[in-house]
């Protein structure tokens, strides 16, 4: 394997790792479920995309890389649906106003 392909694969995998790290930081820093879902979707889309692109760069034009692309397509089809179901669950099980951020709500409670 040529050096260019190795370097390209390492760069793509590093970008994917960076996206996953950002999504985990977002999941821990955000205060509300919807914000956390937004941060988690970053790792679900961009993280998996760059990881699989790096692995396809290593593998080349083989049947394995086609299968990995199939995994990516399958996950991209199912991840928005599960995100929609989760947000639907949040919406239908919470009686409070969802447009208010959690910090704002805490401030209002303190003001009262």
């Amino acid at each position: 394997m040529s050096t260019f392909r190795v370097v390209l694969a390492i760069i793509l995998l590093a970008i994917g790792m960076l996206f996953i790290l950002l999504s985990v930081i977002g999941v821990f820093r955000m205060k509300f479920v919807m914000n956390r879902m937004h941060a988690a979707a970053l790792g679900d889309t961009c993280g998996l995309l760059f990881m699989i692109l790096g692995l396809i760069t290593i593998s080349g034009f083989t049947f394995t890389s086609l299968k990995l692309l199939g995994v990516l397509v399958l996950f991209w089809l199912t991840s928005p649906v599960s995100g929609h179901l989760l947000s639907n669950m949040v919406k239908s099980t919470m009686n409070s106003d969802l447009t208010v951020h959690a910090d704002q709500k805490e401030l209002e409670n303190k003001a009262k």
């Binding site: 694969a9 790792m17 985990v24 479920v33 998996l48 692995l55 199912t78 599960s82 239908s92």
Partner: protein, 116 residues
């Protein structure tokens, strides 16, 4: 395969394992049930990435099929848990506030608009 690349792939696997442990911490301390489900969903993503890296590292093509099945199973888990939790919530809500309270998404939105 290049030796450096093999070491890097192992590092990626260790990184994803550490991230999934951190997500498990979020799932334990998550204040509400949707928080826990989001964290479990992220653990599923990390597992799919680990299996995909193992496909290339071990040169076993069938592990990609395992990753696809894992993606479908984690999606199925989220679907079933959300449906069950919404059902339990509606049952509790009907016990507390009577049967006339419809907890459908649209009617909740309308009731919020009426509250304002």
């Amino acid at each position: 395969m290049d030796g450096n690349l093999e070491i890097f792939l192992k590092a990626v696997i260790i990184f994803c394992a550490c991230i999934s442990i951190i997500c498990f911490v979020r799932a334990v301390i998550g204040p509400t049930i949707p928080d826990r489900l989001v964290a479990i969903n992220m653990i599923g993503t990390q597992m799919i990435i680990i299996i995909s890296v193992l496909t290339i590292l071990l040169k076993e093509a069938w592990l990609a099929d395992v990753a696809a099945v894992y993606a479908l199973l984690s999606f199925l888990g989220v679907v079933v848990l959300t449906k069950i939790y919404i059902g339990i919530y509606r049952k509790k809500h009907a016990e507390l506030f009577g049967e006339e309270e419809e907890t459908d998404g649209i009617s909740i939105q309308e009731s919020q608009v009426n509250d304002k």
